[in-house]
């Protein structure tokens, strides 16, 4: 089976610190994907382009509630609805590792791919006027100049609780595939059959010691 790189995000240990979001912004503001422009960054209504956002949800009925932090980025779908709709071919899925990318030099900024993504994973860069999205740090993970242990997406490197696993989910022996298999990994909005490569690991009840 072909390689499919992906993130597996463990909602059981994510503490919502936003280190993944800030390190992502830092890495991708320069390099191959950059810049990721901000508008009014220090003003009243700051706005900017991000590949990754950490959201927070409250589950259950008070007082028995769970606060669930939920990092959200492009899921690198195995059947990505954003790719076939692109009129220029700027949006594409790499055959060799399954990463969904945008060629910023071909993008005409028509936003049709963003409309075609049920997850809202794509953001138009308001100053460059082209579509931006998570690249799985494609300019890190194959960089021979980095020590092998650092050839991972910036968000994975930054996570203080190891809530983010990175690997080839088609390789049954990878850490990512094993986590999905053994810890109930699931995909978002399975109803649209996009087959997201990124998976999430659910919260687990901690049983207090007897």
């Amino acid at each position: 089976m072909k390689k499919q790189l992906a993130l597996v995000i463990d909602l059981n240990v994510c503490v919502g610190c936003h280190a993944c979001a800030t390190s992502c912004k830092e890495w991708n503001d320069g390099g191959a994907a950059g810049p990721l422009s901000d508008q009014n960054a220090y003003g009243k209504d700051p706005s900017g382009t991000f590949f990754n956002r950490v959201q927070t949800f409250e589950a259950g009925e008070f007082p028995a509630t769970d606060t669930v932090h939920f990092p959200k980025s492009c899921l690198h779908c195995e059947d990505p609805p954003c790719v076939p709709v692109c009129p220029t071919g700027a949006s594409y899925k790499r055959a060799e590792d399954g990463i969904v990318l945008v060629d910023y030099d071909k993008c005409i900024g028509c936003k049709y791919c963003a409309w075609a993504c049920p997850y809202g994973a794509r953001e138009l860069d308001e100053s460059q006027k082209v579509m931006k999205k998570c690249t799985l740090c494609v300019d890190r993970i194959y960089d021979d100049k980095l020590p092998e242990a650092e050839r991972k997406p910036a968000c994975v490197m930054a996570c203080p609780t190891s809530a983010r696993l990175f690997g080839d989910i088609h390789d049954p022996e990878s850490e990512a595939a094993r986590a999905i298999r053994e810890r109930g990994g699931y995909a978002l909005m399975p109803e649209w059959e996009t087959k997201p490569a990124n998976h999430y690991l659910p919260r687990r009840k901690t049983v207090p010691p007897a």
């Binding site: 009014n40 949800f57 606060t67 220029t88 993008c107 900024g109 049920p118 909005m189 659910p202």
Partner: protein, 305 residues
């Protein structure tokens, strides 16, 4: 979704242009009107298609790269539309030139091809929206039918105005055809409104996050100010306004223009008034078409903090 005026204008203007050409060619086959009338009509149709094309450029972040959009016609309805629209314009232009030069055979051939192009253009434009299966309000053959039927209705009405000025013997028939086309388009639009009323969103906050809890609410969306996601996918207008727009188009797309046509016995002034009102109605209809669609990504953007 947030209605984009560039796309609202493009779909209504080009739709009227396509409808007008179809009406002209039908008359050419059935009634052999004066060449001047057909030529003038084609000029108006080309102007409408051109204005639509111009409006569509304002939708692009990088308009100078628009030529690249012809590349992915194998998979993208948008790419197909980008090819078919100029092709339609060229064919209508050829038809008008051949008609003006009285080259009947060539005009017939170019006109027949232009008819096919106009229909294909309706299909492409409709499919751009209908192919997005999770935008449940759009994912229906009714989307195609509505774009085509409303375009034809406004085009035939425009043909009636031109006929009143240049080919008076056809004005009455065109006005009758406009009434019929308007009625059919209106009924189709009512069907799609009815369908969309009963839609149940397939995605829920639970399926969007995978968090298994009966009660689930968002506390923070990861940004304090607005984002592309909050700007592009929410119309941000009060429900009352959306409802008002719906009642506006339900009144202006057919009932009011029809009443004016009947009361004014299809006089030139009645036709003009009917067309002006209907076009405002079509703009409202297209605005509502976008505003009505609930994008599943909105589930992730329910609370700022």
């Amino acid at each position: 979704m947030k209605p984009a005026w560039s796309v609202v204008l493009f779909t209504t203007l080009a739709g009227a242009g396509q409808g007008l050409f179809l009406a002209l060619f039908a008359a050419d086959l059935l009634a052999k009107p004066a060449r001047g009338f057909l030529f003038a009509g084609c000029v108006v149709a080309l102007a409408l298609l051109g204005a639509g094309l111009l409006a569509s450029f304002f939708h692009l972040g990088k308009p100078l790269r628009a030529w690249r959009a012809v590349a992915m016609w194998r998979t993208s309805w948008l790419s197909r539309e980008v090819i078919v629209l100029p092709a339609t314009m060229v064919l209508v232009l050829l038809y008008s030139v051949f008609t003006a030069l009285a080259m009947e055979g060539a005009a017939l051939a170019a006109g027949a091809l232009a008819v096919v192009a106009c229909i294909l253009l309706f299909v492409c434009t409709g499919m751009i929206y209908a192919c997005l299966k999770f935008l449940q309000e759009w994912a229906s053959p009714l989307t195609l039918l509505n774009f085509a039927a409303l375009g034809c209705a406004s085009g035939v009405l425009l043909a009636a105005i031109l006929a009143a000025a240049l080919q008076p013997d056809l004005a009455h028939d065109y006005a009758s055809a406009a009434l019929l086309a308007g009625l059919l388009a209106y009924v189709a639009r009512l069907f799609s409104l009815l369908r969309n009323r009963t839609l149940r969103p397939k995605s829920t906050l639970q399926s969007a996050t995978g968090i298994r809890a009966g009660k689930l609410r968002q506390i923070a969306q990861g940004a304090m100010g607005g984002t592309f996601n909050t700007r592009e996918f929410f119309h941000g207008r009060p429900e009352a306004l959306v409802r008002a727009v719906r009642w506006t188009f339900l009144g202006l797309v057919f009932p009011l223009p029809a009443a004016i046509l009947v009361a004014g016995a299809a006089s030139a002034s009645a036709l003009l008034a009917a067309f002006a009102l209907q076009f405002v109605g079509l703009l409202a209809e297209r605005w509502y078409f976008f505003a009505e669609a609930r994008h599943p990504q909105n589930l992730y953007y329910q609370a700022i903090a």
